[in-house]
């Protein structure tokens, strides 16, 4: 574990970054290199024999990247997927990410994958289960794992711990790092009727390697982590506080549905600089467009809108 902690301390501060999305590939690889880094969804690239694999190699040649997974399923009671981990390791050996992250969640059981980031019962049993699996994953990947607080819409009746305390114990016992998603903090706390500032106060910010920013939709009675709109003013305020407490953790904007063009995403990302400088009053954020039925953790952006193709007649 000491080795994992040492490795964590040596991770770079990357500044501001963007989620690597299919619709931006051409813009990213053309023109001048920017002061930026990218977070790639691991599953989008790890089994690829086509353009995505070529793209991530090219992006990694020009920019720092990190790998962010959505299917490690660290909390599942199914066995760890060794083939998945082997594929992830091969990709990591190839593109040399600054770190590899996933979520404190489970994605399925009984051999199934819901493709959602499902919440854990926060109990001593769950903690012991996840601790053991984080050790295994870190041994296989030969680096500390970075785990993100998920957005949540329920609390298990079994739960006996608060999420910040669970994550603190997890990082203490494994040496893993944390990815603090301030939008998820807001979403989970709003839906639970709890105080996001109290959540942040209890969060082990000294173990935060990276932060996430994203937009959510407000349906009045509840909010959904849709990643389909600009960051809300209340989330920017949480970011301002958290960024200072983490000592300037690497910060990344996720935008996964109704994705603007590359310059539009960059403009949203660079709003963060005002809060990092500590000088900004809360933004007068415009009411985000409501795109109808909101989906938490959308994944449609992972599926390419088919490929460029042509039709010939040889018959």
């Amino acid at each position: 574990m000491a080795a994992a902690e040492d490795a964590l301390a040596g991770l770079p501060r990357l500044g501001l970054g963007l989620g690597l999305r299919n619709v931006h590939f051409d813009a990213i690889l053309s023109g001048e290199r920017r002061d930026l880094w990218f977070e790639a969804i691991s599953e989008n690239f790890m089994d690829s024999g086509g353009r995505p694999r070529a793209i991530i190699r090219a992006v990694a040649d020009r920019y720092p990247i990190v790998l962010h997974g959505v299917s490690l399923s660290i909390g599942s009671t199914d066995p760890l997927d060794r083939a998945y981990l082997a594929s992830l390791k091969r990709l990591a050996d190839e593109v040399r990410p600054a770190w590899i992250s996933d979520h404190l969640c489970w994605t399925g059981v009984n051999g199934h994958n819901s493709h959602d980031l499902l919440p854990m019962p926060l109990t001593e049993e769950s903690l012991a289960h996840v601790v053991a699996r984080v050790h295994q994953v870190q041994d296989i990947l030969e680096r500390p794992l970075i785990l993100e607080n998920p957005s949540s819409y329920v609390r298990f009746v079994q739960s006996t711990m608060e999420e910040p305390a669970f994550l603190r114990a997890l990082t203490d016992q494994t040496g893993c790092g944390l990815l603090l998603d301030v939008n998820n903090v807001y979403v989970s706390c709003f839906n639970a009727g709890t105080d996001p500032l109290a959540y942040l106060a209890a969060f082990p910010c000294d173990r935060v390697v990276q932060m996430h920013l994203a937009g959510h939709q407000d349906y009045g009675t509840h909010v959904i982590d849709t990643h389909d709109c600009p960051v809300r003013a209340e989330v920017w305020e949480l970011f301002r506080i958290a960024w200072a407490r983490t000592g300037g953790a690497s910060t990344l904007l996720e935008w996964d549905d109704h994705i603007p063009d590359f310059d539009g995403c960059l403009a949203e990302l660079h709003k963060a600089e005002r809060y990092m400088a500590g000088t900004a009053a809360p933004l007068e954020a415009a009411e985000p467009a409501n795109h109808g039925e909101g989906v938490s953790n959308p994944v449609g952006f992972i599926i390419p809108r088919a490929m460029d193709s042509v039709m010939e007649d040889a018959a």
Binding site: H115, L118, V154, P298, D308, E312
Partner: protein, 264 residues
Amino acid sequence: MTALAGAQDRMHAALIDPLADPDAAQALFATGGRLGAAGGLAVYQRGYFLRIAACMREQFPALCHALGRALFDDFVADYIRDCPPERHTLYDLGRRFPDWMEANRPDPQVREAWVDFMIDLARFEYSAFLMFDAEGNEGRPFATFDTDDTALRLQPAFALGSYRFPVAGYYHAVRRSEAPTLPLPAPCHIALVRSDYVTRTVSLSEPQHDFLAAMLAGSGVEAALANISASYGLDPGEVERMWRGTQGSRERWIEWRFFVAANS
């Protein structure tokens, strides 16, 4: 079963079939918060379907067009209830869909042509989708016109299919944002081949299909041509002209990068 395993098993079952266990929410989740137990579970249940349906529409755009979104989504809802996703990659979502459609066709007594078309279209679309991320030959040399026939091998990003309807024409019309009508039955044979990350859909005659199928199975050009000659009762000279003649396949297929050169 541990408490953790029990909770996960019950929550997952409630996602796959929201109506099967009406007590799941109250048993699993605290009643506090803005959503309550049932409201919170409903977010996950709704998200599970919408998320996968969105991905399926991306994998099967022409089938979605042909069925209409509402009916397509109904099929997807039934499909993922019967065949919950198994693999970590979303690209795998549609793998079992054509076979599931065949096994659950709405016309089991008297088969209707439109159902056959939808099933064939699903098979073609999934093949075309897989070609996007298949192992390919980009960055490596392809065969040239000068490559000897004995060295010609099909490149890795290559697939063949036979269908009862002209599904490729329908698919490409949808991709061009046209509104094609459902085609009449007409057997068709299709090759899919990718180079420079662009997939080419090539309509084939039946002998051409059989020739390429033989090569896909490991035959060389000479053996594959002999196979065509025998199967169709064609004179070997005629088969050779079909391959190398001015209207022959060889030059076009090399131009379209069907082949690599062995040992290149």
